[in-house]
């Protein structure tokens, strides 16, 4: 990292400190925590775009899958639901998987009649699957739907959910990459757009899996609860010795614990990414990105390397998704908006500096800071613009109501301006 990079990071730190001093420390830490998670997401996208030139428009889907991973690991299992339909559901999924594997095997083995055979197999498999699946789902979702109505998770510590979330995202990325890589670059973009939409649709509608739009609440925490801290006499004494209010203090301490945890993960990832970038593998990646034909002529398997880095990058996004669910303590499938979780991450990577890990991290925290702060700024701007208008003017109330949409416009303009005038970003690639 250069002097310039360090300066930018110092400025971001200053902005956060300013928020802490002039607004409140809980707000500053909330921004920081989400900023750290955003930084991890943009590291993942930077692996794909900066190292290999792959365009992933499905970040939201991989992030959502990561969140699902955290839920599936950490929530306690719902025994009643398992006994009501768990076995049948697993059977249904096995049938579905078996049909797909069978279909692939059939396609490879047969040469004559393979289309009709495939159609018959898929139809039989589908109806068998539905026959087992539908009653099982009904039974599971009937189990106390206002509280559970799903199978629950494994009841393990939530930290196990992080790698598992990464694994889920990696699996989805493998399927997409396997089909769309090696073709035109735009095809990958469109395929990832599709998978993201489907992942979110599944999360919203499959109540047996993660309660759908009813959301999963109370995901266990890896850090203490505020209320426990406030009830601990030692903590209260400790806070009072420093002259802090124990209630505010507990919130700040919990947030700091999260920040420390996320920082450890982020630094470990940066370290790994930097090591990889400097290794022969990293050089190969950049060689492929800069000239695919030349790399291919040297006997390198471009599609395989692309698949590798695409899966890795998506796994990092999944990890970030699991961390986000842990931080929020809930999984809300309705929140995975592509504009927020895909395109905003892209702005972070492009503004920060594609191809440079420190740049991606800087972009992640910086853009997140602005994303949070632009809204009040927009409100303020609109107030200023409309100050001269009549109190009951339609235009005035419309402008004030629409101020929230200023963010999209601003972020889009920022992206276009950076791409045009400073395509290498704030901290350019070396």
């Amino acid at each position: 990292m250069t002097m310039r990079g360090a300066l930018y990071f110092a400025l971001v730190a200053l902005a956060l400190l300013g928020t802490g001093l002039f607004s409140s420390w809980t707000v500053a830490l909330t921004i920081l925590n989400m900023g750290l998670i955003s930084a991890i997401m943009s590291l993942g996208v930077n692996l794909q775009w900066g190292y290999a030139g792959l365009f992933n428009v499905g970040v939201a889907g991989f992030v959502a899958l990561g969140g699902l991973g955290a839920v599936l690991m950490s929530m306690s299992p719902v025994g009643e639901a398992w006994s009501a339909g768990g076995g049948r559901l697993v059977l249904a999924l096995v049938i579905a998987l078996g049909t797909l594997v069978g279909a692939i095997a059939l396609w490879k083995r047969l040469s004559r009649y393979r289309v009709p055979a495939l159609v018959v197999l898929l139809l039989v498999g589908f109806f068998a699957y539905r026959a087992v699946f539908d009653p099982a789902v009904e039974a599971i979702e009937a189990v106390d739907p206002s509280v559970t109505g799903y199978l629950g998770g494994l009841g393990l510590p939530v930290l196990f959910g992080w790698p598992f979330g990464a694994l889920l995202a990696a699996g989805a990325a493998w399927i997409v990459g396997k089909t769309a890589l090696g073709l035109r670059s735009d095809y990958l973009a469109i395929a990832t757009l599709g998978i993201a939409e489907i992942v979110v649709a599944v999360l919203k509608n499959e109540d047996w899996l993660a309660r759908g739009v009813k959301n999963v609440y109370g995901v266990p925490r890896p850090v203490p609860y505020e209320i426990d801290l406030q009830n601990s006499t030692r903590f209260v004494e400790w806070m009072q010795n420093w002259g802090f209010d124990p209630v505010v203090g507990s919130a700040v301490v919990v947030k700091l614990c999260y920040s420390a945890l996320f920082l450890v993960v982020l630094l470990a990832l940066i370290w790994m990414a930097e090591m990889a970038l400097r290794s022969p593998w990293g050089r190969l990646m950049r060689a492929i990105r800069d000239n695919e034909e030349a790399a291919e002529a040297m006997g390198k398997d471009v599609t395989r390397r692309h698949l590798q880095i695409f899966v890795l990058g998506s796994a990092v996004c999944g990890l970030a998704g699991a961390m986000m669910v842990t931080l929020d303590g809930q999984l809300t499938p309705g929140a995975y908006q592509p504009l927020r979780f895909t395109f905003l991450i892209w702005v972070m990577v492009i503004v920060g500096g594609s191809g440079n890990n420190w740049g991606a991290v800087l972009g992640g925290i910086l853009i997140w800071f602005f994303w949070v702060q632009v809204e009040p700024m927009g409100q303020w701007l609109m107030q200023a613009i409309t100050a001269g208008m009549a109190e009951d003017s339609d235009l005035r109330s419309h402008l004030l109501d629409s101020a929230a949409h200023m963010r999209l416009l601003t972020m889009g303009l920022v992206l276009l301006i950076v791409l045009r005038f400073s395509p290498r970003g704030l901290i350019p690639e070396k």
């Binding site: 428009v57 089909t179 670059s185 998978i195 649709a201 892209w346 999209l408 889009g412 791409l419």
Partner: protein
């Protein structure tokens, strides 16, 4: 067994809605495929271009309604359409001047242009939300039905009714006219021929004195018209909500790729293929099956293959199958 009623139910619930939806997708996919053929990138802002065009049309429609101008029984939106097209054309040509031209002159990689189009999408999306908000807007007026279910039942004495919404009929007729005009333009006029030549072989076209900037401008004009018409028809037929236009990107791209990116005929075929599959897979077949099967075979459940929440999964699966087996699309598209 009652084939006549089965046929009517099938037409009413599957064939007509799917044909209308297919026409809308085909118009959208034509825009995507034209940009791909001439400008050589996948335009992610296309969904939001459609939303913008539809939005201007809606605003003008409202103004007309206030003034009392109407062309009943046809929806007023038709009258407002030219204004929508003009505004959208101004927007996309302005965008091309301010944004895309720079990259074209630099001969930037297609993937860079895709990212740039994502930025444009952001801005257009923000603009639409800023002006009209995120909520559902209704702007249809005029006669609601060409034939209503009740009239049809009285006319034929059948148990099933056949309703043709004005918006559905209008969509299909407009799509036929627009497509015919587009193909006439591409095949018969000098400008259209130069566009095709430019799409097939850029260097050769430049060599024979075709002005690339003019070709690009005409393309954007056509794309603006197609996007506005598609967006308005979709809004009339379903409803106007900015976010659904973003979600339309997937079926539109799927249509264009299935047909073969860069091939206008393919875009139309792809649009109908996607629309028919989507409706067929998400329609509850109970009624049709009950009519057409002997009583003892009649289905107990809804006989719905996939819930409508997963309609986008259909386009995705078709897209994946095409990418796996025929990446250039059903009709010969541009190279892989």
């Amino acid at each position: 067994m009652d084939f006549l009623n089965a046929l009517v139910a099938l037409t009413n619930f599957v064939i007509i809605p799917a044909t209308a939806y297919g026409s809308q997708l085909a118009l959208g996919a034509l825009g995507v495929t034209l940009i791909y053929g001439i400008l050589r990138f996948s335009n992610f802002a296309h969904g939001d271009t459609m939303a913008f065009g539809a939005m201007v049309t809606i605003l003008v429609t409202w103004a007309f309604q206030k003034m009392g101008v109407s062309i009943a029984p046809l929806p007023t939106a038709l009258l407002a359409l030219p204004f929508g097209i003009a505004a959208t054309a101004a927007l996309v040509i302005g965008t091309d001047r301010a944004v895309y031209r720079f990259y074209r002159e630099k001969k930037a990689a297609p993937v860079t242009l895709v990212i740039v189009s994502m930025g444009v999408m952001f801005v257009m999306n923000g603009l639409v939300r800023f002006i009209i908000g995120v909520d559902d807007q209704r702007f249809g007026d005029g006669a609601r039905f060409i034939i209503s279910a009740r009239d049809f039942k009285e006319m034929t004495g059948l148990r099933e009714g056949l309703a043709i919404k004005t918006s559905a009929g209008l969509t299909i007729i407009t799509a036929v006219i627009v497509v015919a005009a587009l193909f006439w333009f591409l095949n018969k006029t000098r400008t259209g021929k130069s566009m095709r030549a430019y799409s097939d072989n850029e260097d050769l076209a430049l060599l024979s004195g075709i002005n690339p900037e003019r070709v690009v401008m005409v393309t954007w004009l056509i794309v603006a018209a197609l996007a506005t018409i598609a967006g308005t028809l979709y809004g009339l037929d379903k409803s106007f909500k900015p976010f659904t236009y973003f979600q339309l990107l997937l079926p539109i791209f799927a249509s264009a790729i299935v047909g073969g990116l860069g091939n206008p005929l393919g875009a139309i075929a792809g649009g109908f293929l996607i629309a028919y599959s989507e409706v067929a897979v998400t329609y509850a077949w109970k009624k049709v099956l009950t009519y057409s099967l002997p009583e003892s075979f009649a289905p107990e459940g809804l006989a719905q293959l996939l819930s409508t929440d997963y309609k986008h999964a259909v386009s995705f699966v078709i897209l994946i199958i095409v990418l796996l087996f025929k990446p250039t699309g059903l009709f010969k598209g541009k190279s892989v």
